[in-house]
Subunit: 208 residues, 2 copies
Amino acid sequence: MTGIRDEQTAGTDRRRPGRPRDPVAEQRILDAAIDEFLERGPARFTIDGVARRAGVGKSTVYLRWPDRDALLVESVRARSRSIEDVDTGSLRGDLIRLTTNLLRFLRDPLGYATFRITVDAVANPAYEHIARELAQKHRHAARRVFDRARTRGDTIDEAAVDPVVECLYGAVTMQVLNHGLDMASASEVDLEAHCTSTVDLVLRLLEP
Amino acid sequence: MTGIRDEQTAGTDRRRPGRPRDPVAEQRILDAAIDEFLERGPARFTIDGVARRAGVGKSTVYLRWPDRDALLVESVRARSRSIEDVDTGSLRGDLIRLTTNLLRFLRDPLGYATFRITVDAVANPAYEHIARELAQKHRHAARRVFDRARTRGDTIDEAAVDPVVECLYGAVTMQVLNHGLDMASASEVDLEAHCTSTVDLVLRLLEP
């Protein structure tokens, strides 16, 4: 019971009081939610479908998550990967790694699903929080990359940093939108080569 | 009947033979489809809802469009605007106009809905055709801008053209994704100022 008390102390505000959690069922529901989302898309994602897939009753799902959006957001968050932790020793290397990781992530079904949530967040307040969280994660990653570059003594045109990051992340997104359907066969080497040429081009903008 | 025969000659393959078209009802259905799409999103967009909104029977809609995706795509196409026809007399001016038009379009509900279709097209073959059509429209617009610049005698680093266009369109998309919810109050002047600073930055990359 210690674990439960600890968690109550930490303040999980959504769970009904007095109902012990079943972490195994919860994980099964989160996994089922991701599978359901990837297979059926946000449009046809329902609590019903997730419960059926997880082999639990609908009420078990509702015990923990108030609605489909809350479940969807938590399942995506639970699976989101640390694509933004890069440290290669150089600004150029870090930017290539960062953009290649992002391109690889966006082309995989979970990453693409995450991107769809970010796009939907523009119009759907239920996704606003996770979209901001994801955007912030990427912003912080870029900030760390540039902070390390300054620590190493790189001279950088500070005014160019934000637009360059916007261009890089944007160019990767355009790649997925324009070639998403043709890129299934692109190898890791292709992805990195594409990102390298974009980074090498925009790096010139950072020279003071 | 001439109009109908002309259209049959041109080959509208979806319409059932022998049923005269009702252009007024068709336009009403297309308008209702856009309204339904904007209000309910792609997830909750149904032929039922469109028929109800247009005040026609479901069978009338199915006479002309085989399914919801076909109707959605045609209604978006019918409303898509010529945001890409720009000719200001200079490369810088054209790129600023092009990106400002795109940013304004993406922030308006119809443009944002169109963007969502493009994003969904990565995973939904029903939207693939219109997504390619839209991407091609933008590619051609950019090509015309650069062709005119060459005709005027501008010297351009040709290797940089495609990545620069990708960065510009990408940066605009990032703007909408990152600030979509906060940008409702941004004025036309704000939009143009943002695009101008991005264009001025990346223009340096086009110098040979």
